[in-house]
Symmetry: C3
Subunit: 259 residues, 3 copies
C-alpha cells in the first residue's frame, strides 16, 4: 500500500466520500492518525484501502454498506467502533428511524444485551445531533400487511420439525418476529434481511445464512449486491467468516438462478 497524507479519519472521509460536514467532527471518535501510533500499516490500510477504495466500489451503496457495518458492530458488541459508524451511517443517508429499527431488530437476531448496549451509543449520538424521539418510530405502530400464505407455511414447517422441543421459541418466532418485528414499517424487509444476513456472517452463524440470504434475495437484494456485501464484510467481519460463507452463498445463488 502506498501511504498518502491522511491526517484525520474524518478528513480522509470528507475528501474521498464527500460526506457531509458532520463527518469532520464526530464527537468522541479518535482520529485516523491515532491508529498510526500503534500500527502505521493499519492507518494506511484503513485510510487508503478500506475507506478510500472498498467503500467506493460499485454494486453496494454507501448507505447499504453503513447498514451492514452497523449490523456487524452491534452483533459483535463492538460499541467502541459503533459511535463512529452511527455518525457515518447518518451521513450516508441511513435515517434515524432506520437506525432505531436496526437496533431493535438485532435484539432478536444478535441478543438482547447487544441491542441495549448499542442503544446507549445511538442515544448519545442522536442527542449530539439533535435527533429527538419525534424522528423515531413509536413502539405501537401500524404494521405492514402480512404475507399470510408464506408465514403459515413457515409456521407449519417449523412446528413439524421442532414442535414439543421448545414451544416458547416457536410461539415468539411467530408472534414477536414474523407477525410483529418484521412488519414494522420503518425498515424495509429488504433492509431487515441485509441486517440479518450481515449479523449472521459477523457472528459466524454460517449454518443460518442459507435461509436468510435466500429470503434477502426474495426481499429484493440483488445478486451483485449480495456478492459485494461479502466483499465489504470480509473487512468488517474478518476473512475467515467470509470464506466459510462462500460455499453457502454459491448454493443460494445457484438456486435463485435456476428459478
Amino acid at each position: 500500500m502506498k501511504r498518502i497524507a491522511a491526517p484525520l479519519l474524518t478528513a480522509a472521509i470528507t475528501s474521498t466520500l464527500a460526506i457531509s460536514a458532520h463527518a469532520e467532527n464526530y464527537p468522541g471518535v479518535p482520529a485516523l492518525e491515532e491508529l498510526g501510533k500503534a500500527a502505521p500499516a493499519l492507518e494506511d490500510y484503513t485510510g487508503n484501502l478500506v475507506l478510500g477504495e472498498v467503500w467506493k466500489r460499485p454494486d453496494l451503496s454507501p448507505r447499504d454498506r453503513s447498514i451492514a457495518t452497523l449490523a456487524t458492530l452491534v452483533a459483535r458488541n463492538q460499541t467502541g467502533e459503533l459511535r463512529y459508524h452511527v455518525n457515518f451511517a447518518l451521513d450516508n443517508g441511513v435515517k434515524p428511524a432506520e437506525i432505531s429499527e436496526i437496533i431493535t431488530h438485532l435484539a432478536f437476531y444478535a441478543g438482547w444485551g447487544n441491542a441495549t448496549s448499542a442503544a446507549s451509543v445511538v442515544a448519545s449520538v442522536f442527542e449530539e445531533r439533535g435527533i429527538g424521539e419525534d424522528q423515531l418510530p413509536a413502539a405501537d405502530i401500524e404494521l405492514l400487511p402480512l404475507d399470510v400464505e408464506t408465514e403459515e407455511a413457515r409456521e407449519t414447517a417449523v412446528q413439524k420439525n421442532y414442535g414439543g422441543i421448545a414451544d416458547g421459541v416457536l410461539k415468539y418466532t411467530t408472534e414477536a418476529l414474523f407477525r410483529d418485528l418484521w412488519l414494522r414499517p420503518d425498515l424495509a424487509p429488504r433492509d431487515r434481511s441485509l441486517v440479518t444476513v450481515s449479523a449472521l456472517i459477523a457472528t459466524g452463524k454460517i449454518e443460518q445464512v442459507s435461509f436468510h440470504l435466500g429470503k434477502a434475495m426474495d426481499n429484493g437484494l440483488t445478486k451483485p449486491e449480495a456478492s459485494e456485501l461479502l466483499t465489504h464484510l470480509a473487512f468488517y467481519a474478518g476473512w475467515p467468516n467470509i470464506f466459510s460463507t462462500l460455499p453457502v452463498a454459491e448454493k443460494v445463488f445457484e438456486a435463485k438462478a435456476a428459478k
Copy 2:
C-alpha cells in the same frame, strides 16, 4: 406490542416481578427509558415482552433465568449489561457464593479474559452491596465426592480419541475441571451444567451442546426446564443460536426419553 407507561427499568421490574427494593437503585445502570431515546420499540419489547412476560413464564425460575443470563453475558464478554444482571441475580435469589463460582466456572468454559473482566464488575457490585469475602467460597475448600466410575470412563474415552494430540489439554481437563472445578461445593452440578449449556449456546458452540445438555439432564435439569431455557436464551443469545440448537436438543430429549 402495546406500549404501557414503563418509566424506569427498575420500576417496571418492581411492579412486574416484585423483586426487592435493591432493584430500584442499581448504581450505574441506565434506566429503561434511556433505551427509548434510541429505539422506543426496544424499550417497549424490553419492558413488556422480555421483563414483563418472558421472565415470568413457568417452567424456569427467575433464579435459573438469572444464572443463564449471567452465563450468557460473561461468555460473550458483555460487561455493560452485566452490572444490571448481577444485581438482578442477587435479587432473584442467586447467592453471592454462587455468582463467585459461576465466574470461576466460566474462566474454563468461556475463556480466562471473560472471567477476569466479569470479576471486576462483580467485585464492584459486591462492594456496593456490602458483600465481603466472608460470603464467598475460599479457593481451598472441601470438594464434593467424585463419581469415580463415570470420570474414569470419560478419561479413557478422551484418551483413546485424543491421546498424543494435546496431552496438556487432557491433563487439565482431568485435574482442573472434572476432579476439581466441577466438585467445588458452592455451585451445584445441576447449576454448573446450566451455566455451561447457556455459555455454549450463547457463543454458538453448538457442536458441544449435545454432551453438556445430556450431562445437565443427568445432573437434574428437567426437560421442561431445558426447553424453557431455550426460550429464555432466544432473547439473550439471539434467535440464530437457538435455531441452530433446536435439532441438537431434539436428539438429546429423544435419547433421554428412550431410557
Copy 3:
C-alpha cells in the same frame, strides 16, 4: 488448588516468571487480588495454575504464548484484558514492531473494528513505555519475496471454487492478503500463522483451522508447539473451542506425519 500468598498479579508474575521490572507497574491494570473480591478461586487459579504453571510449561515459549494470547484477546475484542497482555508481551520479548503487525494482521483475520479498538490500547501502552513510531514498521515497506508457485496454485484453486461468487473477496485475498500483508517483514510467516490459528480457535472458526494449522506447520510451527498451543488456548479461548479443535488438529498432525 492450594492457595498461596499471591498478593498482586504483577508480584506473582515477577516471582514466578522473572519478567522485567515493568511488570510491577502496568498502569491501569487491576491487581490479582482484585479478582479475589469476586472469586477467590479465580484469583487462585489465575496466580497458581495459569500464571504459575501453564505459562511455564515447556514446548511453547513465553513469547509465543504472549503472541497467542494477544491474538485471542484482539480476535474476541477483549480490550479490558489487552492492556495487561500488551505489557506482558513486551516483557516476554515480543517486539513493538511485531505487536504492530499482529494488530494489522488481525484487521483482516478478525475484523476491522477489532484491530482499531486494539490499536487504541496498544497506542496508549506504547506511549506509557516511550515506544515511538520510529520503532514501528512503516506502512510502505520492502516486502518478503513471494513464493510465486504456491500463491498461483492457491489463486487458481480459489478461483475455480468461488469465481463469480464474490470477486471482490478473491481480488483482495490475492492483492491485500497473500501478496501484501503476509509478506510484510516485521512479523515472520511462522508468527503470522501462530496469530491466525489462535484467532481462528479463539473465535470458534474451527472449519478454517485445518488450512491454517497446516500452513503454520509449513511455516515452521512444530507439532509440540502446536500441541502446547492448544493447551495454552484452552485457558484463554475456553475449553469448548479446544475440544472442537482436537479432531481437526489430529487430522492435520496425521497428514504432516505421513509426508
